[in-house]
């Protein structure tokens, strides 16, 4: 069936596959530096797919959104994260709450679930990229899984940011992106969010001497 | 004309009560003495005792309140009023509609409460001891008496004493099982209320056993006379109630003087037989421990309620 698809659809499917692969890689990644690089790669793939869609469908505002993604998700955020890692001099590996193979199995189940979730919608979608909607939902689900299973603050934030990427990818695949003013708003929110999280890292660090989430469990109902 | 006759009959009723009551007590003491083969005291002894007491001066305890002085008069008045209500010489007395059976029980309760309060007013151990035991007896005897009256009123479809007497009188000599239960219950209640042997010994002054005597320990002179007369009246009224409920034949209907004379000897006969039976009961039974009294009165209460049940089960069927 892929033969009949136009070149752009094939490229988009390829990029979507790359997106899914990157999401899986981030879930199973042990070292934080490579985690940030994977996040940067995911941003790049997202920007590429938006560009391809923009070219193929002639949607002018998509160029703007690709540009924002490029600036924000590929250059600015990774740079902020690298500086933070450098200043906090955290080099250590990431501990996970449940071991990696287990997370992988859950990840696969999630992908299957998101595909049959997206099935009814993708039939209705008029866009050429309707088949990638399932992948977009899968990457959102995988990043949520990553946030749940990580026990360190920084990986959790990176999971949060990759969820944003997944959502943007879903937006472009389902509806050729949101109106420009909304895209700008979302980008601004993500940027400010990351800055605030950076401030938090420093506060948590000098309060708990470590960025481990397990220190943040004192506010609870006593049994 | 008949209102004058009614007033005369009512007056004769009161006069008969005041005269016959002390005689009845004297007669019961005489019977008991004979049964215990002692020499019997004269039947007129109570009258002489009242006269003696009225001559003496009344000695009062030092911290006594005016309630103590007033109580004997109220108690005597209640008993006198009760004797005027219970139909003995004629069933349609002038004062009969003033109170029905429930009001009569209320009257006895009023007298009991005043004598208990008088007992407590003295402030010594004996007065409150007697009051506590009297109220213990009272709160079980009163409902039992009410149940007896209820049984009789269910049979005669009314709670006013005159209608009850007439209804029970006309039905001839059929024995009602419910009335039998009520009769036994009534005798037990009568014994308890009048402080007779099984529950309380009227003659004793032993602190541990006395109930009624303990309350009137401090009374003397005219107060004691009134109280003693009231006690005699109470015994007489209970006898008349027993006669009215269980042996009502011979109590005349109308309120005229002729059948009054015919009713008097019959009443004297019934009182004499009743008095002898009371003396018999007193000689053959011994005084119970105070905490056995609630069981004794509990049985009386159950019997009375049983009487009502029996009436509803058996007799309404007809």
């Amino acid at each position: 069936m892929t033969a009949t698809l136009p070149i752009s659809a094939q490229i988009i499917n390829l990029l979507a596959a790359a997106m899914l692969l990157l999401a899986f890689a981030m879930v199973s990644q042990r070292r934080i530096i490579s985690l940030i690089n994977l996040f940067m790669a995911q941003g790049a793939v997202l920007c590429a797919s938006t560009l391809v869609v923009a070219i193929s469908t002639g949607q002018s505002h998509l160029y703007g959104s690709a540009l924002i993604t490029l600036v924000l998700k590929v250059i600015l955020l990774p740079w902020i994260l690298h500086r933070l890692i450098h200043r906090l001099n955290v080099r250590w590996d990431i501990e996970t709450l449940i071991n990696i193979p287990m997370t992988m199995i859950i990840g696969i189940l999630l992908v299957i679930f998101s595909f049959n979730l997206a099935l009814p919608i993708s039939e209705l979608a008029g866009t050429i990229t309707r088949s990638t909607l399932g992948i977009a939902i899968a990457s959102v689900m995988l990043s949520t899984l990553m946030m749940i299973t990580r026990s360190k603050a920084v990986p959790q934030v990176i999971g949060f940011l990759s969820m944003e990427n997944g959502l943007f990818f879903a937006a472009t695949s389902a509806t050729y992106g949101m109106p420009m003013v909304v895209e700008l708003g979302i980008a601004l929110d993500v940027l400010v969010g990351t800055v605030i999280l950076g401030v938090f890292f420093f506060q948590i660090r000098d309060k708990f001497e470590s960025l481990d989430i397990r220190h943040l469990e004192k506010l609870r109902e006593d049994q | 004309m008949n209102t004058l006759a009614a007033i005369l009959v009512q007056f004769f009723e009161l006069l008969a009560a005041l005269l016959l009551a002390p005689l009845l007590t004297g007669w019961v003491n005489q019977c008991r003495a004979w049964l215990q083969n002692k020499t019997a005291p004269p039947m007129m002894l109570p009258f002489r005792q009242y006269a003696k007491l009225l001559e003496k001066e009344a000695v009062l305890a030092n911290n006594v309140s005016s309630l103590f002085r007033m109580a004997p008069y109220i108690i005597f008045a209640c008993m006198a009023l009760a004797s005027m209500i219970v139909p003995t010489l004629s069933s349609s007395l002038m004062l009969a509609p003033a109170a029905d059976a429930i009001a009569l029980v209320g009257l006895f309760a009023l007298a009991r409460i005043f004598i208990a309060l008088a007992g407590m007013d003295i402030g010594t151990a004996f007065g409150s001891l007697g009051a506590r035991r009297e109220m213990l007896i009272g709160f079980l005897a009163e409902p039992a008496l009410l149940m007896v009256f209820f049984t009789a009123s269910l049979i005669s479809k009314s709670t006013s004493l005159s209608t009850m007497v007439e209804a029970l009188g006309q039905r001839g000599f059929i024995v009602y099982p419910s009335l039998a239960f009520a009769g036994v219950a009534f005798t037990m209640v009568a014994l308890a209320e009048n402080a007779r042997i099984p529950v309380d010994n009227p003659t004793t002054h032993l602190e541990l056993t006395m109930i009624h005597e303990a309350m009137i320990l401090e009374y003397s002179g005219r107060h004691l006379a009134l109280i003693e007369c009231a006690v005699a009246l109470k015994l007489y009224v209970y006898f008349c109630l027993g006669v009215a409920l269980f042996v009502p034949w011979g109590i005349p209907e109308g309120a005229d003087l002729l059948n009054l004379l015919q009713a008097l000897p019959l009443l004297l006969l019934k009182l004499a037989v009743g008095g002898f039976l009371l003396a018999l009961i007193e000689t053959i039974s011994a005084k119970m421990r105070v905490f056995r009294a609630p069981e004794f009165l509990g049985t009386a209460f159950m019997l009375a309620v049983l009487g009502m049940l029996v009436h509803l089960l058996l007799e309404t069927g007809k």
Binding site: - | P97, L117, R132, M147
Partner: protein
């Protein structure tokens, strides 16, 4: 004058009560003005309300709509003879109690008098509003304002932890009761199937009582509404399983407030019960009556048995209120059963007994509570063990307390006896019921009521004897001062009501007959199947003799009764004084040879009730530690507790706590667990909409 006169007057008087309250708050620093001006003013308003209600008793129901309330459901107000009787009760009692308050609140003790005055008058106004309310919203607002203001009054001296606990328990059970009443109104207003058309914007407007009266329910919904009302109003009245708050809350309040709560507030619950079961509900089923009868009997017996063993005089009176409420519910049960079998005259007899007993209980219970107030003020102690011999220092209070005690024990010349007599008469007619099973129940019920009345006598002797008679058990009692003038006026006003209700029952019953005619369609003094109109007319006119059904059936002439006793006392007194003498000599009491006679040798309160503790042993939860003879410091202690507290209320507390513990598991503190919750809810919802 426009025909809405009495209703307008009632509303004006309620507003004036509120104005007095607010004035009290504003002038809170000037103590004299509040106690000597505002409270008497409140009393006058109360008296005026009683007169308005007395006037309105006969004529037809008046209705009005106030601008307050929800946009589509403004406050409906209605004054018919049922609410008029209870307004009469409220006005009369409020007059006496307010005058007493004027004398009772002294400078500088207890909470701020200004606040007290405001809360007290808001309490009165909300009770009056409950009696006038004619729609669910107005009723509920007035009902809970009454509960709220009485809660603040109960916790006036909130420094004592027990009082705070009592206040909390009181408001909690009152609130649960109110929720049930709201649920009952919901069912009554038409239930789910009757008219659930959503299109009508103001369809919650049909929460007025007039709409509810027109509803025809099937037996299921009618029974549901009835038992919700029974639970709700029973909680406020103190019916058996829901009575635990009453012996805690009433004694905690200052005496005039506990008098108002015991005397009048409990009657608003009875009013509510009558309004729902006879006026709003379309059908009455016989087994409702039997259940209410048995609940009433249980609480009557329970109340009197517990009041006999109390050592605190105000708790003793609170438990005796439970007993009287039990008797009232017995009367309501009888009336329901008779009405369901169509025997209207007998239902009228039972209902007259209920209404008469409401008036009586309001009079003598507030009188007794006010007397305890004066005793508390004079001696500073409520414990019966520390009182005694007060009749010498406080004659006024003692004799009026005796009057209250006699009428509370239900003894002939006074008012307690009349309502008890009517109730027992009603019992004697039950064998006529066509239902064999109920006929069996009659003797047991009659026996229980008789036993309760007798025990009430026991309780009153203990109360009066231990407090007022004998020797003072503490030295400080000798300086006890009698009630002040204003307090005496309040007490004697209530005493006068007791005497009047006792001696002139025919007038009172004639007035109450309007209510029975409203609720049952047939009054007591109407021609019934047994007796022709001529005889009934004669009976009604003869003010001397009370014969509810027929002269030769049962009759009672209170005035002749009292005259008889007084005449004989006078004759004997004069006879003895003239024929013999009235010399008196005072000397020591008989001490049986022990020279050392101390006041401690009298019977204490525990001692007086010891026989009862022995006879009714299974009723109590007893803990008594009796010292052995070798005990160096012998201490005798008896704690009597309530089984229900351990059977019902503590388990409820434990289950609530267990529920909380279970739910606390949800909030563990780990952020990953929280994210998991969010994820799982999402998945479940997606699965739901997929299906």
């Amino acid at each position: 004058m426009s025909n809405l006169l009495s209703l307008d007057w009632a509303l004006v008087l309620i507003v004036s009560w509120l104005v007095i309250g607010v004035a009290g708050l504003l002038l809170s620093h000037r103590f004299f003005l509040i106690s000597r001006v505002l409270f008497p003013l409140g009393a006058i308003v109360g008296l005026a309300l009683a007169c308005v209600a007395f006037g309105a008793l006969g004529n037809a129901a008046e209705e009005a709509v106030l601008p307050l309330g929800l946009p589509d459901l403004p406050f409906h107000v209605r004054l018919d003879s049922l609410s008029a009787v209870f307004l009469l009760l409220l006005g009369g009692a409020a007059a006496g109690i307010s005058i007493y308050c004027a004398g009772y609140f002294r400078k500088g003790e207890g909470a701020a008098p200004g606040l007290q005055c405001m809360l007290y008058h808001v309490f009165l106004a909300s009770m009056a509003m409950v009696l006038l309310a004619d729609d669910a919203y107005a009723f509920m607002v007035a009902w809970e304002t009454m509960a709220l203001s009485s809660f603040f009054l109960v916790t006036t001296d909130h420094l004592i932890p027990e009082i705070r606990r009592a206040g909390y328990l009181y408001l909690l059970i009152a609130h649960v009761g109110a929720i049930c009443i709201l649920l009952c109104f919901g069912v009554l207003h038409g239930g789910s199937e009757a008219n659930s058309n959503l299109t009508q914007v103001s369809n919650y407007a049909n929460y007025t009582f007039t709409h509810m009266r027109a509803q025809q329910h099937n037996t299921l919904w009618a029974s549901a509404a009835f038992f919700l009302a029974l639970f709700g109003f029973g909680a406020k009245a103190g019916l058996l399983p829901l009575h635990v708050w009453l012996p805690e809350a009433h004694p905690a309040a200052p005496s005039p407030v506990s008098a108002m709560m015991s005397g009048v507030m409990l009657k608003t619950a009875i009013y509510g019960m009558l309004r729902v079961s006879f006026d709003l509900l379309y059908t009455q089923l016989w087994w409702w009556g039997v259940i209410v009868l048995s609940l009433g009997l249980a609480s009557a017996l329970f109340g009197v048995v517990f009041s006999a063993v109390q050592n605190d005089m105000k708790r003793l009176l609170a438990y005796s209120s439970i007993e009287n409420i039990g008797l009232l519910f017995v009367g309501i049960g009888l009336a329901l059963t008779f009405k369901s079998f169509g025997m209207m005259t007998l239902a009228a007899l039972a209902l007259t007994a209920v209404l008469y007993h409401c008036l009586n209980h309001a009079a003598f219970k507030s009188l007794l509570f006010l007397c305890t107030g004066s005793v508390l003020h004079a001696t500073g102690s409520r414990n019966l063990g520390k009182l005694g011999g007060l009749i010498h220092q406080m004659p006024w209070v003692a004799w009026l307390a005796l009057l209250g005690a006699i009428s509370s024990a239900g003894l002939p010349p006074l008012n307690g006896f009349v309502s008890e007599w009517l109730l027992l008469q009603a019992f004697l007619f039950t064998p006529g019921l066509p239902h064999a099973y109920i006929n069996m129940l009659v003797p047991v019920a009659a026996a229980a009521v008789a036993l309760t009345a007798a025990l009430a006598g026991f309780v009153m002797v203990k109360f009066f004897g231990v407090v007022f008679l004998g020797r003072p058990r503490e030295e400080s009692l000798s300086q006890a001062h009698d009630a002040s003038l204003l307090e005496r006026i309040g007490l004697s006003w209530l005493g006068a009501i007791c005497v009047v209700l006792g001696l002139f029952p025919v007038y009172v019953i004639e007035k109450i007959d309007n209510v029975t005619r409203l609720l049952l369609g047939a009054g007591l003094y109407e021609a019934n199947e047994m007796y022709s109109t001529a005889e009934t007319a004669a009976r009604a006119s003869n003010w001397l003799m009370l014969t509810p059904i027929h002269p030769d059936r049962a009759s009672y002439m209170p005035v002749v009764f009292l005259l008889g006793i007084l005449v004989i006392v006078a004759i004997v007194f004069l006879l003895v004084r003239n024929l013999w003498h009235n010399k008196e000599r005072v000397s020591g009491a008989w001490d049986c040879g022990f020279p050392l006679q101390t006041a401690r040798m009298q019977d204490t309160a525990e001692g007086f009730s010891q026989p009862l503790r022995q006879v009714f042993e299974p009723f109590y939860r007893l803990q008594s530690d009796i010292p052995t003879s070798f005990d160096k410091s012998p201490r005798y202690r008896v704690i009597v507790e309530d089984h229900f507290w351990y059977w019902i209320y503590l388990p409820i507390g434990r289950t609530a706590d267990f529920g909380a513990k279970l739910v606390a598991f949800l909030q563990q503190g780990r952020i990953s667990v929280y994210l998991l919750y969010s994820f799982i809810t999402l998945v479940i919802l997606l699965f739901l909409i997929r299906g």
